[in-house]
Amino acid sequence: MNHVPLIHILILSTALFFIGMYGLLTRRNMITMLMSVELILNSVNINFVAFNVYLYPQKLTGIFFTLFIIAIAAAEAAVAIAIIINLYRNFHSIDVEAADEMKF
């Protein structure tokens, strides 16, 4: 473990972030966009854990931030899927371009 510099882990998380960004920009299906958001949140988690291990090994702050982000991601995914199912019931499609009115 001692021979991998921190910068390689940061480059890994950056790459993961921009892969998620690419998915968020190209996809038009709400579930796949949600998957891209999960990838982005995970890249942030990798950063927190790596900074905790490499720069502040005597503390646990990164672990707590990661745990809170995971909890928020779970809540966000649940609410997003409830919204998606509700939209599917009203529009019979989960394409973001199909949902073009807010009141019906």
Binding site: L25, I63, I72, A73, I81
Partner: protein, 176 residues
């Protein structure tokens, strides 16, 4: 190159390749399965970093919870065997360009940033990362305790749970 470095690079390739396939795959169900592999690879990365508890939470919440929820919602909302419509070519081009440029810019910035230490973790100084220690600090009200965010998160989860039920509940046709 030591064995642990080899493990790290194998894990990185696994994570990035399956994430790339998850955002480009034409079938939505395959996309969800590639996302599953990517999240499992990230859990492996946490194990590699020595964060056993975070890795366990990652597997339980992401792999066991969120991906299963996503797969359920795929089954509820569309035919999983059908191909997704291919995105517009210009949009793919510009998105890939934006993502690559952003990646390069961030890498340049990372190279220039002077990190505080020699960037080699000192494992003789590793803290007590047992679940017991994490739990005590999470619920401590003293300095460096995290009881307030813990309570806020629990309220948020309760609100999200009630919100989901209210959103997804089926209204009768006459109600509206």
């Amino acid at each position: 190159m030591s064995a642990s470095a080899v493990v790290f690079y194998i894990l990185s390739v696994l994570i990035l390749a399956s994430a790339l396939l998850a955002v480009t795959s034409g079938k939505i169900f395959r996309s969800a399965i590639w996302l599953l592999f990517s999240l499992t690879g990230i859990a492996g990365l946490y194990f590699w970093l020595g964060m056993d508890f975070v890795a366990a939470v990652q597997i339980i919440v992401y792999v066991g919870g969120i991906v299963v929820l996503i797969i359920f919602s795929i089954f509820l909302t569309q035919q999983s065997g059908k191909d997704l419509p291919a995105p517009v070519r210009a949009r793919v081009l510009y998105s890939a360009l934006a993502a690559c440029l952003g990646f390069l810019l961030t890498c340049v910035l990372l190279r220039q940033f002077p990190f505080r230490q020699a960037l080699i973790p000192d494992y003789d100084f590793a803290p007590d990362m047992s679940v017991r220690n994490i739990g005590i600090q999470l619920l401590s009200t003293k300095e460096h305790g995290y009881v307030l965010p813990f309570e806020v998160i629990s309220l948020l989860l309760l609100a999200a749970m009630i919100g989901c039920i209210v959103l997804a509940i089926k209204t009768k046709p006459g109600d509206r």
